[in-house]
């Protein structure tokens, strides 16, 4: 990890507001975040949590009615919050920070050829013209995995499939030769098989051009696949930030708990998926206390009164919740989270035993879902205690169950249905 290097981009106490119909919407509340060179950072959160507004701040792409109220964004020796006009942003947009948008079906101009659109970026940022530019376009197309580039460059977006169009969008971003690549839900609009390819492509580009990537997503599967660090956003603030392992296996904020508990991969077949009750607060009014408190069944009294500060858990991990305050009562996270925590410990132990450092291996919760490979068994392991918990309450401590089960008698079973249908047998077998 790159913990000790200087941050590439540093956001401090950023407050961003919108004027909407005479009201003021407080879209980003005291955001502080560092982005380190070469890392890939994922920003997760539900719709309306401010993820997109935040990254648009980095490129000055928010709508006219939005404004920075306070705070700073230090990047490239400048404070980006001071840039106003398109001319001010000229040195940043494209040339330093490029972007891949969510929906490749709409993010290309339908009336211009693919080649024209990439050439636009090549001309602007690499200063190439004519035949040279054409050649550069073909090279980039080839790089992103589009074969027969000379012919393809002359085609229009409607002659490409969704996945191919996303490749073109990535090609445009790469043609800018940026330092930071922002991927705003790059795979949400694509089907599952294409998703993995596109993520793979972005990773390749990251390696090849030494890019720093910022992903915005609400797909934790994508996060697990790509991110070194995760920032969880809720109601316009960052509630938790840490390395992938820390956030996935030792989450501290109740919202992160709830978010991870609602992963379909952790659900039990036949039972309703966990979902977070209520709705996010209305940001037209100033939020009092902890924004998540009204939806948090285990909220403390102070959560309704005073806004928690960012507490550091480790050097890389911090969360905005009173639970970390030493004076706070001990509140146990929900079962799902305990299970994840145990799995995290197991993996660390295993990794230590095998002498390999793997952040990636621990993260394959969702990929296993898709591929059903060996790692897939670990998904069912995590499910196990929760299922028995639910069918036979008060049996065992879920943590113990998870620990005892892991790696023992799982191999032959069909992974999803096992815990539920054979629940009783399982419990007796274990007892």
């Amino acid at each position: 990890m790159t913990k000790h290097t200087e941050p590439l981009l540093s956001v401090r106490d950023l407050n961003f507001k919108f004027n909407l119909r005479g009201q003021v919407l407080h879209a980003l509340r005291d955001i502080s975040l560092d982005v380190y060179p070469g890392e890939s950072l994922a920003i997760v959160g539900e719709s309306g949590s401010g993820k997109s507004v935040f990254v648009k701040c980095l490129m000055g792409l928010n709508d006219m009615n939005g404004f920075v109220e306070s705070g700073s964004i230090e990047y490239d020796g400048k404070d980006l919050t001071l840039l106003k006009t398109d001319a001010d942003w000229k040195s940043i947009r494209g040339s330093k920070i490029a972007m891949v948008l969510q929906d490749p079906m709409t993010s290309l101009n339908p009336l211009k050829t693919i080649g024209w659109q990439i050439e636009e970026a090549v001309t602007l940022h690499q200063g190439l013209k004519g035949a040279e530019a054409k050649k550069a376009v073909c090279n980039i197309l080839e790089e992103v995995g589009i074969s027969d580039p000379e012919r393809r460059a002359k085609q229009y977006p409607h002659e490409f499939s969704g996945g191919m169009r996303q490749r073109v969008v990535i090609a445009i971003a790469m043609a800018c030769r940026p330092e930071i690549l922002i991927c705003d839900e790059p795979t949400t609009a694509l089907d599952v098989t294409i998703q993995a390819q596109i993520l793979g492509l972005i990773k390749d580009m990251q390696k090849k051009y030494n890019l720093t990537t910022i992903y915005i997503t609400h797909d934790l599967g994508v996060v697990a696949n790509v991110a070194d660090r995760i920032a969880v956003m809720y109601a316009g603030e960052i509630v938790e930030v840490g390395t992938s392992d820390e956030v996935f296996y030792d989450p501290r904020h109740p919202y992160t708990w709830a978010l991870l508990s609602s992963l379909p991969q952790l659900g039990v077949k036949g039972e309703p998926l966990y979902s977070i009750e209520g709705t996010p607060p209305n940001l037209f009014y100033e939020v009092k206390g902890d924004a998540f408190a009204p939806r948090n069944p285990k909220a403390l009294k102070i959560d309704y009164v005073k806004r928690p500060p960012m507490f550091a858990v480790t050097a890389t991990h911090s969360a905005r919740t009173w639970l970390i305050d030493p004076r706070a009562p001990k509140v146990d996270p929900p079962e799902h989270i305990l299970v994840l925590r145990e799995r995290g410990k197991d993996l660390v132990a295993k990794a230590a035993a095998e002498g390999m450092i793997s952040t990636g291996a621990a993260m394959h919760v969702s990929e296993a879902e898709m591929t059903g490979d060996a790692a897939g068994m670990s998904v069912s392991e995590t499910l196990q205690p929760v299922g028995t918990e639910a069918s036979a309450p008060g049996m065992q401590q879920p943590g113990e169950a998870g620990a005892s089960v892991s790696g023992t008698q799982q191999s032959g079973e069909s992974k999803m249905s096992a815990p539920h249908t054979d629940g009783d047998k399982e419990v007796t077998a274990r007892g």
């Binding site: 490129m59 792409l61 006219m64 398109d86 942003w89 000229k90 947009r93 494209g94 040339s95 490029a98 972007m99 948008l101 969510q102 929906d103 709409t106 993010s107 290309l108 101009n109 339908p110 009336l111 211009k112 636009e120 970026a121 602007l124 940022h125 229009y156 409607h158 002659e159 490409f160 499939s161 969008v169 445009i172 971003a173 043609a175 800018c176």
Partner: protein, 316 residues
């Protein structure tokens, strides 16, 4: 492409045939006075003789067939009430040029002014006060909501005293052209401005504009190369039709300035029950409309690469 045009022209001819048949059949249901200038003074035998001369005593399908053959040879027939005995082609040839001249000039004016106005309005929606957009919207609403007769009259009254010119149109005096052209244009200016603004604002909010901004394209270039270019596409379809319809002339403006043009001719001959002329004018107008639609579709195909006139090869 050529095959498509050929097919569309065949369709157009077929449409015109149907139009002629229907209008001809309907007109034959009207009193036969429409074929005579002075039926009161004629005896029954003379009327019958006249009808036979026009071929109207034969069965209806044969009459229609004969008329079609006649039109096919370029003969629109003879007027019998509007100007007794005059060839219809000659009447139109005398009236059309002035309408076409005025129409074309006003079209150019309204395209230039209307489109620049639309662009200014659309661009101003990205500024803080949106001044141009507000002014433009007020103008458009007034033009759309107030009956055109009212502002045409106001333009004539105040315009003529302001410019110090005669209220009536005289072809030799260029100054008298200004007011009719202004009147003819003002509605279209509002129309083009409204639609161009609307399509430009639509386009400006599309994802690919966001991507273009994110890739660092300067805003002037975005307006020209991305927004305007794409916003024009839906307008292009209706352009040929409105060009042709402008040329046909405006009833109200032409009568207001007593311009000897085509405007109102159809209404006039319907009132007079000049059946042969009604038929000829309906034929011309429907030919113009059908042609306009065809040109509109072709223009659309040229402007938008997604529209193809040949069958897709299927594969992506």
């Amino acid at each position: 492409m050529a095959k498509y045009i050929f097919k569309r022209i065949l369709h157009a001819i077929f449409t015109l045939l149907i139009v002629i048949t229907i209008v001809f059949a309907l007109l034959r249901q009207m009193p036969i006075e429409g074929y005579f200038n002075n039926i009161d003074k004629l005896t029954d035998a003379q009327v019958h003789a006249g009808l036979t001369r026009l071929g109207l005593t034969r069965p209806l399908p044969i009459q229609i067939w004969n008329y079609l053959v006649q039109v096919f040879h370029g003969d629109l027939g003879v007027s019998n009430k509007f100007r007794d005995g005059y060839s219809i082609a000659k009447i139109i040839a005398g009236k059309a040029p002035i309408s076409i001249k005025l129409g074309l000039i006003s079209l150019v004016v309204s395209l230039i002014v209307g489109m620049s106005m639309g662009i200014m309005m659309a661009r101003s929606t990205r500024t803080k006060w949106k001044l141009w957009d507000k002014f433009g919207t007020v103008f458009i609403v007034i033009i759309q909501a107030v009956p055109s007769a009212v502002y045409h009259l106001l333009i004539q009254l105040y315009g003529s005293s302001l410019l110090g010119v005669s209220m009536l149109f005289k072809e030799e005096q260029l100054m008298t052209w200004i007011l009719p052209i202004f009147s003819l244009s003002i509605g279209n200016i509002a129309y083009y401005a409204m639609w161009l603004r609307r399509y430009m604002v639509d386009e400006a909010n599309k994802d690919y504009i966001r991507l273009a901004r994110a890739k660092g394209v300067p805003s002037g270039r975005i307006s020209r190369q991305h927004v305007f270019r794409n916003a024009v596409v839906p307008l292009v379809q209706y352009l040929p039709n409105s060009i042709l319809l402008t040329i046909v002339g405006s009833l109200y403006v032409e009568s207001l300035y007593s311009i000897p043009g085509m405007g109102g001719l159809l209404v006039q001959v319907i009132k007079l029950q000049d059946n042969t002329m009604v038929l000829a004018l309906v034929l011309i107008y429907s030919a113009i409309s059908v042609l306009g639609l065809l040109l509109g579709d072709l223009a659309m195909g040229l402007a938008d690469p997604r529209i193809s006139f040949v069958k897709k090869e299927g594969a992506r």
